[in-house]
Symmetry: C2
Subunit: 203 residues, 2 copies
């Protein structure tokens, strides 16, 4: 039996997290690994590094490259993609909803995560707008208004802050990141290596 957890640290505003969200479930299933979904915010981490906003906006050459890279990788993986008209989008409410669903072991959490990423990176929807988050929840057959309200309680807000602090403690500086038995793997490109690490270190 696997005793090691496989933590998938994702951020709803992150392009490369979208690629991993699309790929991780099939790969983890094949590898016999259970995913621990860990939402966090990159904003506070970027701020600590002295960046106001995404490095893809601050460094234009890096940003231009990233969008072309995303186009190529989405084509390669067969992931629907439309360059969002705003980047990065405010991921605070979506991350709070994900924290709530995680805390309450809701089975719809992966569906919600996939739907929010698709809204952001394939449907050009404003995931920072509560209307959109409520609507995504309603489309999943959940009471959107009620969940959004409960996502905004002080207790649940604290959950997301705790997640982000934990990410920093783990040495996380970007998204997606994978943590397996104390080993950190950064980036969609490391998903396979992280899963292989889990398999090699599971007794």
């Amino acid at each position: 039996m696997a005793t090691l957890s496989f933590e998938f640290w994702y951020e709803f505003g992150s392009t490369y997290s979208y690629l991993s969200v699309h790929r991780i479930e099939d790969l983890a299933y094949t590898a016999g690994v259970e995913i621990s979904w860990r939402p966090f915010l990159l904003g506070p981490i970027f701020n600590e590094q002295g960046w106001e906003g995404s490095p893809f906006n601050i460094y234009p050459a890096k940003g231009r490259y990233m969008w072309r890279d995303m186009e190529r990788l989405c084509a390669k993986y067969g992931v629907p993609f439309a360059k969002p008209s705003r980047f990065p989008r405010d991921s605070l409410l979506a991350a709070r909803v994900a924290c709530l669903a995680r805390a309450e072991s809701e089975p719809w959490l992966p569906d919600f995560i996939r739907a929010v990423f698709r809204a952001n990176f394939a449907e050009d929807r404003e995931i920072g707008d509560p209307v959109q988050i409520r609507s995504i929840l309603n489309e999943l057959g959940r009471p959107g208004a009620e969940i959004v309200e409960r996502a905004r309680t002080p207790e649940n807000k604290q959950r997301l802050r705790d997640h982000t602090h934990r990410a920093i403690e783990l040495g996380i500086f970007g998204a997606p990141s994978f943590v397996v038995g104390g080993e950190l793997f950064w980036g969609n490109d490391r998903l396979e290596d992280a899963l292989a690490w889990h398999q090699a270190h599971t007794v």
Copy 2:
């Protein structure tokens, strides 16, 4: 016949360039691709982005991760690795020698490149020191002192400046990078994709 060139842009101070230098010749041979070796300097590019030195030193979490990632990847690829006691090392003279050898179509260029990267990342040698560069050339059966002197002519210094300017024009912001028919691929992780792109676009 392949008409597209396959440009491998490398920087002697760059850890991930070391991984690609180790891997590229076998992969390119298998893919039937001829490598165009393009030395350049990251320093001026980092300076333009407002970084004084390597981002792996400026951002500690990123740096700690990179060294662990290198350990894991070198183990995976079977590449000898010893964390250098100085990072990054001054790559100016090595890059100038590589420019000279490239301009004169010297057949020992790939041997020199491999030897310098190994010196830096497996043997902890000061590749910024002319003594070491001369010694590496001598070990390859070349007249080290003479080559180092010719690498420092104004004409050859200009070659390296031209390479670095060309890199910036191509949108390059890190190393290694691969350029295939106007497409830029960044990072050792994209070597296979760059080779596949070459094959898919060769008539």
